[in-house]
Symmetry: C2
Subunit: 338 residues, 2 copies
Amino acid sequence: MVTLAEVARHAGVSASTVSYVLSGKRPISAATRERVESSVRTLGYHPNAGARALASSRSNIIALMVPLRTDMYLPVMTEIATAVATAARAHGYDILLLTGDEGPEAVRRIEGSALADAMILMDVELDDGRLPLLRAATRPAVLIGLPSDPDGLHCVDLDFAAAGAACVEHLAGLGHREIAVVGEAAAVYERRTGFAERTLAGLRGRAAELGLRLLHRPCEGSYAAVAATLSRIVDERPGTTAFVVQNEAATDPLLALLRQSGRAVPEDVSVVAVCHEQVAARASVPLTSVAVPAREMGRRAVERAVALVEGRGADPEAVLLAPQLTVRASTARTPADT
Amino acid sequence: MVTLAEVARHAGVSASTVSYVLSGKRPISAATRERVESSVRTLGYHPNAGARALASSRSNIIALMVPLRTDMYLPVMTEIATAVATAARAHGYDILLLTGDEGPEAVRRIEGSALADAMILMDVELDDGRLPLLRAATRPAVLIGLPSDPDGLHCVDLDFAAAGAACVEHLAGLGHREIAVVGEAAAVYERRTGFAERTLAGLRGRAAELGLRLLHRPCEGSYAAVAATLSRIVDERPGTTAFVVQNEAATDPLLALLRQSGRAVPEDVSVVAVCHEQVAARASVPLTSVAVPAREMGRRAVERAVALVEGRGADPEAVLLAPQLTVRASTARTPADT
DNA sequence: TTGAAAGCGCTAACAT
DNA sequence: ATGTTAGCGCTTTCAA
């Protein structure tokens, strides 16, 4: 293993000079810089992470806590996670992968061991057990998601309430007056995950404002569950002409079942999804949708975390990304309206 | 920040005693052990990761390199990754998340910086550019996947060739004589990813042995692509009575299209999938399938890596997990056969 | 512009 | 069964 000392000897300079060449924290003459850099290359030197962390109390590692669940749509989580990893590398940081099942204890562990310089947390619940620890922690944390009390915390999330409102507006503009919402699995609401509740609030709020009827039903992702939910909806609200789906696993079954039951999309009923972009684009009828901007959320979270670690910290705030509704082939004017 | 020295002072013992209490590497009297442990708790001590890594040249971190692609089915990758993370924690290790786009350079970086004690690599190609570095590395590596030359490497994978063979056998046993294979996207084969090629080899080999006709077509996951592939298959081989699908994204479209074209599953055609268990179970017709044992693969990889790090190393070998075919509702005897 | 030297907090011989 | 002590490889004052 090549050490700083060996590089220093090889380049004929002191250890500190090598260190400063590497960190750029003090001016170095062009001549020595080149000599050192060439020694680094020829010896294949890589600084020892442990030693560096110990001496500088910086690990250049960001801990990322990902959900470990089966009732959430994984591709979005995965996309956020890989976006975080990629963005972190671009800033010279590595990612330590923590799973949500470790709970608040993981926060303590990371904080205590100085394993990471900052934490990024996903799958934030409205009243998340990790929040008190994060507020008290000496190292910065960024949430991807929005708890009910974001005070003193750095948050990045899609503005799901606005997303819900946008869906209702789009449908109202097309003449729809009765909307049914096929939601996430009931467990997601019970857990009081922020995004699902907020979307619903946005949907309901705008529906009330515009005088639309809105029926919401949680729904599992299986084909059978969607079939059951759909038939209940049709029974209760035969006048329904539009659906909002917030459940990636349910979109394909929903389209298939509508088709099967003789309801053409978008001629007879319209469908708007709040979902992963690929799911919307690849569906059997390409779906008008509000996408979750996973990559941007990951990137923003990392940028904030890095800024905080490196002392360019902004005030804690909730950054809510504006939703963007993309019109595809699944929405049209109501039959009555044409 | 609480240090070892503070714990030692608080407990009235030397630093080394505290260290040994924590590591269990030498006998400690019950009395001092208890005193130390109580001090640890009351002070809220957590060993500093950097210092420990520096002194012991062990980071208790395993680096996991995950694919960063869009043409692979992510849930399986995600499931493996979370299984790896969970298993690692159970052994006292943390996971450092590396993305595949860093390529061989990441191997050098981790090796050089001693950031991780071992590496686990996913998405292994038949002739993977990272292999030479891994063979030369001083730290152990475990591949999840199987390159063409696994010599000197520790590998864990599903026996995809056996999986392919099992599919053919099952169908042959039901009287099918003409099988069509709907495969992964063409890019997956071009990249020479091991698993896709090996499944195909297993399918072809057993089909040849049993005298069945077998047609293979790569296929993108979109609805349109599956439709095109299906119609080509039907044109070329009108006698096809069974499909093998190895492409999670294509299964649902395939079932929908078969239904639409008046072919009932399993009455008219049988379908066997090599895919994620959930995809098979949740499909509109629950699919007879060979599942990728993602959790077990992750667990086995971690166990091997930990054993190697801790000096209980076995010889390098390729561990191929036996496939298990689960019969569900998508396969039946051929119409001609009943 | 560079060097010397004192730690960072821990582990692991080497003592006793 | 426990204490003493010498590093691990780096960063960063303090000096020159």
